[in-house]
């Protein structure tokens, strides 16, 4: 009884939105609130397409998007208050190291979506050129931080070889004003905006130097055991939306305008370029598949950074069993 009361209170505190618990749908649709880890954005087009084309409904799922901090989504899924969340790859080992029983069931991004950008005047052509440079990043957490460290390690460098500057999500302005010599950014977003503003930049894509597990869908061990059909249906619907978005970006963009209020008034060229670059990071021979080596690399990177203190069982972090 006490456990129930506390869980209900924590669930309410963590999310004002209606939370759904995984349950099998017997005729009626299973209502699911999906934490997205960011604000409404054209990069979420595959989800919007899957909703618009009723792929989720065909799988017996009625979905609502819940834009919130990525870590909150992980905690809610880990506590089995929600069945699914969209998160970055590093969240899985970080959470599992603290006992959260989450499992990654479908890969969305095949390339880790982080890059280090700099003005061409800095002449940063390779990761080794970052030595001694002042690099801005949102903070010492999250994908920007982990991607940057992975890039440094790929060149035999470490954090001590550079100056890290926590600047919040102000990378574009900081680079434009020459406050930073380089910045860790999301590869589909800030580089496009910098170029649109007329800056000549160099980009070092993390994915070109090390393959890391990237953004995808997580669930928890309990949902996999008790409701595998829900997981299968969810993954299938999402991958259908992903496939359609890759095949027809213009249609996906038009659909996204219904879900992203600000999209219609934004710079269409920039937003379409963001979608195009994102699609490039999603493409693969078989959508949704996780590469075990990418998970091993993520585990090794986090160990080296000290973010996890002991190696984890990589095989428990992900599964490809639900990929159609």
């Amino acid at each position: 009884m006490l456990k129930k009361i506390v869980l209900i209170m924590l669930g309410l505190a963590l999310s004002l939105s209606a939370c759904s618990t995984p349950k099998s749908a017997s005729g009626a649709l299973t209502k699911i609130s999906l934490p997205m880890g960011y604000i409404p954005n054209v990069q979420f087009a595959p989800f919007y397409v899957a909703v618009e084309k009723r792929y989720f409904k065909d799988a017996g799922i009625e979905i609502t998007f819940d834009y919130k901090f990525e870590t909150d989504g992980v905690a809610l899924v880990g506590a089995n208050n929600l069945p699914f969340a969209v998160v970055s790859g590093e969240q899985v080992p970080l959470a599992r190291a603290q006992g959260l029983p989450i499992v990654y069931v479908a890969a969305w991004y095949q390339k880790y979506p982080v890059a280090v950008v700099s003005k061409t005047s800095q002449n940063i052509q390779t990761p080794a050129d970052l030595k001694g440079k002042k690099i801005g990043l949102p903070g010492l957490f999250g994908a920007n931080y982990i991607g940057l460290d992975a890039l440094l390690y790929s060149a035999g460098l470490a954090e001590k070889d550079v100056t890290l500057d926590s600047i919040g999500f102000n990378q574009v302005a900081a680079l434009a004003a020459d406050r930073e010599q380089a910045a860790s950014v999301y590869s589909a977003n800030e580089p496009v905006q910098l170029k649109a503003q007329g800056y000549a930049i160099n980009e070092l894509q993390v994915a070109d130097y090390v393959k890391l597990a990237s953004n995808g869908i997580i669930t928890n061990e309990k949902t996999i055991t008790e409701n595998p059909n829900l997981v299968r249906g969810f993954v299938k619907a999402f991958l259908h939306g992903l496939s359609d978005t890759i095949a027809n970006p213009d249609e996906a963009y038009t659909i996204s305008t219904k879900y992203v209020d600000t999209l219609a008034g934004a710079d269409q060229k920039v937003q379409k370029e963001i979608l195009a670059r994102s699609i490039d990071e999603w493409k693969t021979d078989r959508l949704g598949m996780s590469d075990p080596q990418a998970w091993q690399n993520m585990n090794d990177t986090l160990l080296k950074m000290g973010s996890i203190t002991k190696p984890l069982d990589v095989s428990k972090m992900f599964t490809n069993d639900f990929i159609p």
Partner: protein
């Protein structure tokens, strides 16, 4: 019971009242432990007091906690000092000039309607991610309560006292020193007590947006790595900082206003 022992009852009751705070705290920790122990919740949702204590010791011994607390304390001290300084000077000027108050009050009231969490990223962008933006945010949050209480305190001085000072040919400096400051201090300290606790929030808001050190950074790292005990350690340290500042202000208040107690007696 000896009738004489009843004479000691008020003293015993007073002595025990001092322990009420500790008993309340211990009861709170016990309830927390009960929920964590029998609620069946994993540590990432609700760590037990023992988990948090262990994490506290680890952070203390490896120097992590001292480094981050030191950074926050520095920001809070400088932010509080600068916020109080500017608020007191401007507050005195506003108290003395209705015209100035009418000119500035729309801005001052409007500034309170702006959520600092929303403008903190802009301040970091404009003034850089260094310590200055944190001091500024801290100073801004302290500013208003101290300003308002300064104005109210100065205006609360009875006009008859001014007449008395003038009849004694007191200069403006003497009126300020011997009448206005002592008379306004009790109300001023009310604002300072609020400002002191708010200053901790100001520093953390700045650190959460973009910083390399500070308890706000520790909270971010704790959240990012699902190290909930670390989040608790940072939050409790912030509470301790706020209590320390509040206690310091209260101590100064008692010292500086001792003369009032003598008058009342």
């Amino acid at each position: 019971m000896d009738i004489n022992s009843l004479k000691h009852l008020p003293h015993i009751a007073k002595h025990h009242r001092r322990w009420l705070g500790f008993i309340s705290l211990a009861a709170g920790i016990f309830v927390w432990w009960l929920i964590a122990r029998y609620g069946g919740l994993p540590a990432f949702i609700l760590p037990s007091p023992a988990d948090v204590w262990t994490r506290f010791l680890r952070a203390l011994l490896n120097g992590e906690l001292a480094r981050h607390t030191g950074a926050t304390l520095l920001e809070v001290s400088l932010g509080l000092f600068s916020g109080v300084l500017f608020a007191t000077i401007l507050g005195y000027m506003l108290a003395k000039s209705r015209m100035l108050e009418q000119i500035l009050s729309p801005y001052l009231v409007a500034s309170q309607a702006v959520p600092l969490v929303a403008i903190a990223p802009l301040l970091v962008l404009w003034f850089g991610p260094g310590i200055f933006s944190k001091i500024l945010i801290c100073g801004l949050i302290v500013f208003f309560p101290v300003l308002v209480n300064t104005v109210v305190g100065i205006r609360a001085v009875p006009p008859a006292y001014y007449d008395l000072m003038r009849s004694l040919h007191a200069t403006r400096g003497q009126i300020l020193r011997y009448l206005e400051i002592p008379a306004a201090l009790p109300i001023f300290f009310g604002g300072l007590r609020i400002g002191a606790t708010l200053s901790v929030i100001g520093a953390v808001v700045g650190e959460l947006v973009g910083a390399d050190t500070g308890l706000g950074v520790l909270i971010n790292i704790g959240r990012g790595t699902f190290d909930t005990p670390m989040v608790f350690v940072a939050v409790f340290t912030l509470v301790a900082l706020a209590l320390l500042l509040y206690g310091l202000v209260t101590w100064f208040e008692h010292r500086l206003l001792k003369w009032q107690e003598h008058i009342q007696q």
